[in-house]
């Protein structure tokens, strides 16, 4: 009887855990549905989660952005340090976009709502979304310190006892180039937490829960133990790897020393380049997020994200290094370095468990970020801005080819070209697979894309480049070739830098070639039928089939 009762209790807790995950999924869906920011609504650059009273994350929606994983997980703790639980009342909502307390740059608004059940504080909902404009220097890649990166909102009450803080909202409106959208997105964040609160209330009613204490410890303990069990199956030891990035003026070196022990996995970044003048520096919270993500992909992929499952993964990095930038270092484009961290972690793990680790991927997203004027008068208010996410190829896996045109590590969705063209006069003339860009190998890297842009009106437009893998392509391993490097050129011939604001003259076209993923193993060992199919489908050229893959017929 007791045993049956225990089993029943276990089933109930499993159901409630699943339900909690579905609550945050619905919270995230609300955010995506109500967002104004195109990268949130079209691509899913957002996150949402529920936290216990100690500020520990219990469940997080699986959305497009690993970068929010562990960073948002810590945000509630920071909020509670400033606004202790006893100072919070029903109807309060907190906000910040502090890069070091939130998710790494001022574009991310993080909003936290305390949840009261029958008058008692019982949980917190948090969500983050990427706002399209928060003021700051016109060319966002040009900031020299964080104060040039727009309005900096410390942890403040956005809503107090149900009344929106009009002063703060006015400040937000006054400090962005898109006041209506930015205010709309702020409301969207409030709404998404509110939906979470409503659903959680219904769940607690239904299951007759007084509080979340026992469910919380069940979730966190079970998850932590599950991750530790996976870690204990790995060989113990320390492995080092160095990854070189294009950077701005000079290449950047990321160095990791990864140690597997029975207590967890620790990654130390000593030896990495120092903070740079340009805004690709990374606050530690964001370094932690992408490091955890890389580790989880290989080690513990089926275990839901929460404070328990994240606990066994720890990091350290020297203060002032590029992966532990200190305020007021500029950090607006921290994702450029951050998104390369999984490949760095993989470089360490490949030395111990190569059968589970892919070759390098394209990494950073290749965003089509354009702006310009609709008329030659070039008056403010006559501007357009639009952006759409595109991707390169993923690295080959030991067992199969890398995926073409697929974001990794970021999983945000690519947007619709038709939607993009409703928002700007810029025409996308081409967007298709880039032949021969996947690194050759026994298993092939995924292909990048060829994209062409031209203004549809007789005006120049600006293209904001912030990409990687132009100088240093995605590496192949074990005889596999590197993926093709990315390229930006004008049709008229000029080669453009991977980072910077480029003027695309009227009538000229911007040609973009996103990078392919690296290959694994000797290309000549690739299955001949697979080589023939690649050739027939036009994914590789006849020359590559013959010269690299050694196809005779």
């Amino acid at each position: 009887m007791t045993e049956q009762h225990d089993q029943t209790g276990l089933i109930d807790r499993q159901i409630m855990w699943n339900r909690l995950i579905s609550v945050v999924e619905e919270q995230a869906m609300t955010l995506q549905r109500t967002a104004f920011s195109s990268i949130v609504r079209e691509s899913g650059d957002l996150s949402a989660g529920v936290f216990d009273l100690a500020g520990r994350m219990l469940a997080q929606a699986v959305t497009g952005t690993p970068g929010h994983v562990n960073s948002m997980a810590l945000a509630v703790g920071h909020m509670l340090a400033r606004h202790p639980a006893q100072t919070l009342a029903p109807g309060d909502v907190l906000i910040t976009n502090d890069p070091w307390l939130g998710t790494g740059h001022t574009y991310d608004f993080t909003v936290v709502t305390p949840f009261f059940y029958r008058g008692r504080l019982s949980a917190f909902f948090a969500c983050t979304s990427h706002i399209m404009d928060i003021g700051g220097v016109y060319q966002f890649t040009d900031s020299a310190d964080v104060f040039m990166e727009g309005l900096y909102i410390p942890i403040l009450k956005l809503v107090e006892a149900g009344r929106v803080n009009r002063t703060l909202m006015a400040m937000i409106r006054a400090n962005t180039r898109n006041p209506v959208d930015t205010e709309g997105d702020t409301y969207s964040l409030i709404a998404c937490n509110e939906v979470g609160c409503r659903r959680l209330e219904r769940m607690m009613d239904e299951f007759g829960l007084e509080d979340l204490e026992s469910l919380s410890s069940h979730i966190l303990e079970t998850s932590r133990n599950a991750v530790l069990t996976e870690i204990r199956r790995l060989p113990k030891g320390t492995w080092n790897h160095v990854l070189t990035l294009d950077g701005y003026e000079a290449p950047i070196h990321l160095q990791a020393s990864l140690t597997v022990s029975d207590r967890g996995i620790h990654v130390d970044f000593t030896g990495s380049s120092a903070t740079v003048r340009r805004n690709i520096n990374v606050p530690l919270c964001y370094t932690l997020a992408y490091t955890c993500f890389g580790l989880a992909c290989i080690v513990s992929r089926n275990i839901p994200n929460n404070a328990g499952s994240l606990a066994p993964f720890t990091i350290s990095a020297p203060e002032g290094s590029i992966v532990n930038a200190q305020k007021p270092a500029p950090v607006a484009c921290r994702h450029i370095v951050g998104l390369m961290l999984p490949d760095l972690v993989f470089g360490c793990l490949r030395q111990t468990i190569p059968e589970r680790v892919p070759a390098e991927s394209a990494g950073v997203l290749w965003g089509l970020n354009v702006r310009g004027y609709r008329s030659p008068r070039q008056i403010p208010g006559d501007e357009f801005t639009a952006g759409v996410v595109t991707t390169g190829g993923m690295g080959a896996l030991p067992s199969r080819d890398g995926l073409s045109a697929t974001g990794f590590p970021s999983g945000v969705r690519g947007g619709s070209i038709e939607i993009f063209e409703t928002q700007s006069p810029v025409i996308v003339w081409r967007k298709e697979f880039r032949r021969d860009s996947g690194g050759a190998g026994r298993t092939r890297g995924g292909l990048g894309q060829t994209i062409e842009l031209e203004n549809g009106i007789d005006q120049p437009f600006l293209f904001n480049a912030s990409v990687e893998r132009v100088r240093f392509p995605a590496k192949g391993f074990a005889g596999g070739r590197d993926g093709a490097a990315g390229r930006l050129t004008l049709r008229s011939g000029e080669k453009l830098a991977g980072k910077g604001l480029h003027v695309i003259p009227a009538g000229d076209r911007l040609l973009i070639r996103s990078p392919g993923g690296g290959g694994l193993g000797e290309p000549k060992e690739r299955n001949r039928d697979a080589v023939r199919e690649d050739l027939r489908e036009g994914l590789i050229s006849p020359d590559a089939a013959k010269d690299i893959y050694g196809l005779m017929d």
Binding site: Q4, Q7, I11, D12, I15, N18, R19, S22, V23, E26, Q32, R33, T34, A35, F36, S38, R41, G44, V62, G64, P66, V180, E183, G184, Y187, I190, A191, E194, V195, F293, A296, C297, R301, V389, T390, T391, L397, R400, L403, S404, A405, T406, G407, F408, G411, G414, S416, I417, E418, I419, E421, T422, I427, R430, K431, E432, F433, G456, R536, E537
Partner: protein, 699 residues
Amino acid sequence: MEKYLRLSADVGGTFTDVVLEDGNQRWVGKVLTTPEAPEQGVMAGIDQVLAASGRNIGMIGVFIHGTTLATNAVIERRGARTALIATDGFRDILEIGTENRYDQYELALERPRPLIPRSLRHTVRERMDAQGRAILPLIGEDVRNLARILKRQAVESVAVAFLHSYANPAHEEQTARILAEEIPGLSISLSSRICPEIREYERTSTTAANAYVQPLISGYLGRLGQFLGEAGFTGNLFLITSGGALLTVEAARSLPVRLIESGPAGGAVFAARLAAELNEPRILAFDMGGTTAKITLIENFRADRTRLFEVDRAARFLKGSGLPLRIPVVEMVEIGAGGGSIAGVDALRRVTVGPVSASSVPGPACYGRGGRHATVTDADLALGLLDPGHFAGGTIGLDLSAAIAAIETDVAAPLGLDPQIAAYAIHEIVCDNMATAAHAHVVERGRRLDRHAIVAFGGAAPLHVARLAEKLGVARVIVPPLAGVGSAVGMLRAPVSFELVKSLPARLSRFNPDRISELLEQMSREVRGHIGDVVAPPSLREKRLAFMRYVGQGHEITVEIPVRRLQATDAELFRTLYEEDYRALFGQVVPDADIEVVGWSVHLGTDPDLPAPAAAAAAPVAREAPIDRTIRMFDGARGRWIELPAYRREQLRPGDRLSSPSLVLENETTTFVSTRFRAHIDIIGSIVMERDSGEAGDD
């Protein structure tokens, strides 16, 4: 001759179910599906019910038909050799897709193969901009050159999907005219007709699927029409869509994509009507046939509907792993778990079941029609749960020794088990697979299953529903009359309707009532064209919907708008309607933001007529149900054979109490009552199984 009979035929992967209705009387036929020529099975089923009823085919006024032909063609990649013609520069829309990973932590994720391989994806120089202006003209000669390539590639069907064709279809239409001249008989699907909505990936994918199944469906409907005509049928033929509505044959031929996932839709109509009749506001419809199991939530007597749906998911339960189709569809989860699902042992020595099915050809081993693999039906037979002489209306005699031999070879021997134990494992695993899928589906909607009743129908559901309910912790199970052919019965009651959606952005701040009214009127005429003149106008109701959002948002909410000519003042009405819904959904409205309508829908149809709750009239006299005979069954949980009573369903009447465990035999299905449930027959003849509410599930 007076045509007053209604007929329905549901062609599934394994069985074809036929129901003939004359007022309150119904006759049921169940025959094996004939996959190479499904019309033969349909005609055989019709002959069966006509013979049983003594009616003739000329008396049939309405024939409603549902088929999985389109779905299976997509899943099994057996559609036509199809090419895509896209705008130059956009050859890979189908394969680039959304560029994301549906499972964030899975590096080795699988994607479904596109319906059209790259070598059959062509492009042509042309371009519309977002306003529908031609910024690069289409050159007829380019299309003619392409036609020569298509001929060389022996292409049977073409999808034409140009950028922004929803805003201006001229280039697509021009392409179609040229192709029709150059390649007579070529099947052509235009994205501006199939799915005139913004977002190129979903529109192209939907159009590709339409083109892929069109020759197959068109040929099938042509042959069926001919057979029916020769047999003397003079009534109206309708096809049931994935949204649970009826289409004329002509509409189905031009829009066959709307038939994908149509089989289960009849079941949703059936379950919704039953829910109304029994006054059960929360129902989980469980439809298990020979090939798949379908699970649908029905609340307040209607199934949820959605406008975006995925077919052929590479990862069973994961959104984003399938091919997107933008069509109206009943929201459900479908998994490869049916009577024909093939069992085996995987590398980790675990018993696996499905998703591959032995279907009707060759069928389970026990059918004796050439099937060699052990299936769920073989396991059920080996356990003693099926009556070998009365399976599927007695159309198929089951061979017990063939079933045991297959189980021995495929599962028992590799694991060193007795065949009975192996059979029990197969039965358990298939129930567990279904429980997991049902659970995920329900939880995704934030529901809790123990408040729901399960309604079981489809040939294999009544046999597995007790175990499924135990695993899900559901306390109430209903097996309605005619459960074995529930989907076909539901089709008899599906409303005739057609829905059309078009993208035409309109801001409320620049509201142009005349332009919108014209569009809606034109859509209304088009919808009427699809419905044809087969339904008397007075019974048709028109509904108009606007998909609205704040300017700058990317997702819309659906608002019902009045069916009349619009005036300038209606902008304010639209705002009010929108903000009411927005507030209800998301709490806060956004002050000062402009609102836009991005798309419009016109829906025309008959109302679904839901029955009134069955009168709770005089409680029937309770009695112990008459036992037909005693059957031996292997009780896997206890590892021994037991004896249990079997009833004939036609001998049961309202108020009868059944023993637990027991079996109820009828021509189209068998119901298993487990020891966990107490069972009786309710006022309308359903078998109702109930548990004490305090008891929870055991797995």
